[in-house]
């Protein structure tokens, strides 16, 4: 009451008709549109955002620290829980990094399987993004349609490795199971009909006037700013920067297939949406080419020092059995010392693993560079001067997952 009176008095003094004051609005951590447990504190002037401060850490599980106490095999299930929407990409990112550290060369067939799996996971992640992003903005139908396709891909994942969400599929030096011809056929059939599905999503929202009003010119970030903020993935490409780790530092089989990097122009929510829609088609194309080209052969690399020996040998051969025991209880004992940073292109952006090895079976330190963490830090930039309702569109368009941000 006192305050109000003061304000009024001051207001009268400056001969203003109404006293104004900035309003602080707390959004989250349980807000449905923040895609997890993100808390934003917004300072508002009317409906315009003056300042936006993200608070993170609600989903912190200490994955980096836990990794220091797990050997190189045991970390794979932990990486599932970074970006749980695309656990396959995290598995692959981690294994690529460890393989580079150990100097393991993965077999051709494994490379192709990984590429297929990574692109499936990209489609899965983008489907969830499209569904929830549209739902945030008010388009309900797209959400249901996206989940229909997700179900099919998740079933394929389950047939491949036994789990739908937290797959733990790759291994250091290869993958867990080989793909069967049937599986590849079913996936091929899916890729045949998927472009038609993407067209359906586009029919629903691409030209819809409400969608356009809510996305065009909203959450704009220029190419220069995007680079300076360290953005990556579709969020960066939406601003017109054609940077894609898959093209610049190819891993798996990305250099053996033909595809393009879609980019936007204006760097607004709509352009980022367009980029991801194009990525659906490109991923689909990559999967089709991989299925056509996949060579036959073994799936595990020839690096006995770092890979669990074959089960049939373990049972019949003392040396293999001892080796098996040592590998599991202590981790690979001949891991080279040194440090390494390897980046891969996860659906949300550049996912990097920085591993310091001290020659024991466990990493001395593992730091994970996750795209969501960087993107959230740029959120104040996205929301500068926009309306409250538009921050929901902005959050949706940078596609964050808090499991990955907080780690």
């Amino acid at each position: 009451m006192e305050n109000l009176k003061d304000n009024l008095d001051n207001g009268l003094k400056d001969s203003l008709p109404i006293a104004t004051k900035e309003l602080t609005l707390n959004m989250g951590p349980q807000h449905p549109a923040t895609h997890g447990v993100l808390r934003l504190v917004l300072e508002l002037d009317g409906e315009t955002i003056v300042k936006c401060t993200p608070y993170i850490g609600y989903l912190h599980r200490g994955i980096e620290k836990l990794s220091e106490h797990r050997n190189y095999f045991q970390i794979i299930p932990l990486t599932d829980r970074l970006d749980y929407i695309a656990s396959m990409s995290n598995n692959i990112g981690y294994c690529v990094a460890v393989e580079k550290l150990f100097g393991i060369e993965v077999t051709e067939r494994s490379q192709f399987i990984r590429t297929i799996a990574a692109e499936m996971s990209r489609i899965l992640s983008h489907l969830l993004w499209l569904g929830t992003h549209a739902l945030d903005i008010g388009a309900m139908t797209v959400f249901l349609y996206c989940f229909r396709e997700r179900e099919k891909l998740l079933d394929l994942f389950e047939r491949l490795c036994g789990a739908r969400l937290t797959v733990s599929y790759t291994r250091v030096g290869g993958v867990k199971n080989d793909v069967t011809a049937e599986w590849l056929e079913d996936l091929y059939a899916f890729t045949g009909e998927f472009p038609m599905r993407v067209e359906q999503y586009e029919t629903l929202i691409d030209q819809n006037r409400i969608w356009l009003r809510r996305t065009k010119g909203i959450g704009v970030i220029s190419a220069e700013d995007a680079i300076n903020w360290g953005l990556s993935g579709p969020t960066l490409r939406g601003s017109g920067v054609p940077y894609d780790v898959r093209k610049f530092m190819p891993y798996a089989a990305y250099d053996k297939v033909k595809w393009e990097v879609p980019t936007g122009k204006n760097g607004d929510v709509y352009d980022r949406y367009r980029v991801r829609m194009e990525e659906f088609r490109q991923s689909n194309l990559i999967i089709r080419q991989c299925i056509e080209k996949i060579p036959s052969g073994p799936i595990m690399a020839d690096a006995p020092k770092f890979i669990l020996p074959p089960k049939d040998k373990v049972l019949n051969d003392m040396e293999h059995l001892i080796h098996h025991f040592v590998l599991i209880t202590k981790g690979p004992q001949t891991a080279p010392e040194g440090e390494i940073y390897v980046a891969t292109e996860a659906p949300k952006g550049e996912l990097g693993f920085y591993i310091v090895s001290d020659g024991t079976g466990k990493p001395y330190r593992m730091r994970i560079r996750t795209p969501s963490f960087v993107h959230i830090s740029a959120l104040p930039k996205f929301s500068e001067g926009s309306l409250v309702a538009d921050i929901v569109a902005s959050i949706g368009s940078i596609d964050i997952v808090l499991g990955e941000c907080d780690r």
Partner: protein, 177 residues
Amino acid sequence: MTAKEFIKKVLFIEILKGLALTLKHLFSPAVTRQYPAERREPFPGSRGLHALVIDEYTGKAKCVGCGLCAAMCPSQCIYIYTSEDEDHKKIVNRYEIEVLRCVYCALCVEACPFGAVALTEHYEYSDYSRDVFYYTKERLLENWNKYMAGQKGKEYFEKFWRPKSEDFRNSKEPHAS
């Protein structure tokens, strides 16, 4: 704005197109399942509740209590207590899995050198108390009989017990570590 765009805007063309699509879907068969009534069959190899393998010849548990599964488990939720009998043979007194902490990664299956632990396809086992989820050796053996008995269990290990020799390019002898 051209005349064409103007007409499109006035006639709500893009909205009508979207509505036509949803109308078409109204007559296509539903893809959702009415869960408790309609259950989805998990695929073979789906990772669910644990089971301890029973040897089909001896009728006893295959597990010898080596502890590799417990060492490999990333969430450290397997507890094994062993002792010696009169002939200095190892006996597994207790083998317990705290299922609530398990992440279903199947690394225990991969670590076991004897094929003595498996993940069944059973996934519906919610309950009202925490004690139920502390699976003892007896209950784990029971799981095997319940969910993996006969041909299914055999197939499981043929298909999903990896890595196998055929997975390697040329499986050389391991270098002693």
